[in-house]
């Protein structure tokens, strides 16, 4: 199970995500949700509009594995990517994150973080960004 760091949670909750989905044969559809909540160590939830539900529900039913990338200024300051299994319950999309990647341009691009101990992730974040707390 992946463990979201406090920094990740702060940016996810404040700015939401671009959510990449695909059908079983790999045809992609991306939606954008501008706010999220986190639950426990690994769950990110989004409240979708009816239009967003209709846009991706077939993909989620047939292929629930999705990718999340932080929205807006978080795309620059919080270069992470999260992947996990999504469930759609009414208008609530819940993603149980299984994989976490650093996507900061440079030598750390695509470094997998969920396979590191949580305390190493915190140290990594402190070494890579000036801001380690929630977004201001």
């Amino acid at each position: 199970m992946a463990i979201l760091s406090p920094r990740m949670k702060g940016w996810l909750e404040r700015f939401g995500c671009h959510i990449g989905t695909a059908n079983k044969s790999g045809f992609p559809t991306t939606i954008v949700v501008e706010q999220a909540t986190t639950e426990g160590d690994s769950v990110v939830s989004f409240n979708l509009t009816d239009a967003q539900v209709n846009h991706i529900k077939d993909n989620i039913q047939t292929n629930p594995y999705v990718a999340l990338a932080p929205h807006a200024i978080a795309s620059i300051r919080a270069a992470y990517q999260f992947k996990g299994a999504a469930t759609l319950d009414g208008n609530k999309l819940k993603v149980d994150v299984k994989e976490i990647y650093c996507t900061k341009p440079g030598p750390e691009a695509a470094l997998r973080l969920d396979t590191l101990p949580p305390e190493h992730v915190i140290k990594f974040e402190e070494s890579r960004w000036r801001d380690v707390g929630p977004p201001k």
Partner: protein
């Protein structure tokens, strides 16, 4: 499909309004990857170009499934666009005559193969600026549809 002036303005290199974008690709069995892409340009009004600087899974995905969606990561009001269509990477080493939907590798690499000559890479804060870049090629997305990713109308067709 031709992009509108407003779209071209935020995707074109050196426009002054250029946007950070995300490129979503998928493996052949449906595992998505969303790749941060700060640099884009528009070619012949219907292709979006971007440099391959740090792509990994994006490239693996495109090598097995040539489709992508490009979304604006930090869109101003009214620019919640998603551009979707066939996508490939034209790489250094491709034969100059290699063509992807009419886009010819030699021409692409001549102009866009060293993106740093088109725009500086250092327009971001020091702690998020890459210290070194090595461009291996150029992503080419042929825009075949544009849909809205605005919450209230997600998926509605724009072009």
């Amino acid at each position: 499909m031709k992009l509108t002036d407003e779209m071209r303005n935020i995707l074109k290199v050196g426009s002054g309004n250029s946007a950070v974008t995300y490129l979503t690709t998928s493996s052949s069995d449906g595992v998505c990857n969303v790749h941060l892409q700060p640099y884009t340009d528009v070619y012949q009004d219907e292709f979006i170009f971007a440099p391959d600087l740090f792509a990994q899974k994006t490239k693996i995905n495109i090598n097995e499934n040539r489709f992508a969606v490009l979304t604006v990561a930090h869109p101003p009001e009214g620019q919640m666009w998603a551009f979707r269509g066939p996508c490939n990477i034209i790489q250094w080493g491709h034969p100059p005559k290699f063509s992807f939907h009419g886009v010819v590798a030699g021409e692409v690499l001549d102009k866009w193969g060293d993106w740093g000559t088109l725009e500086p890479y250092d327009s971001v804060d020091d702690d998020i600026k890459p210290k070194s870049v090595g461009q291996r090629g150029v992503f080419v997305l042929k825009v075949e549809e544009v849909y809205s990713c605005k919450a209230s109308e997600s998926g509605s067709k724009i072009l």
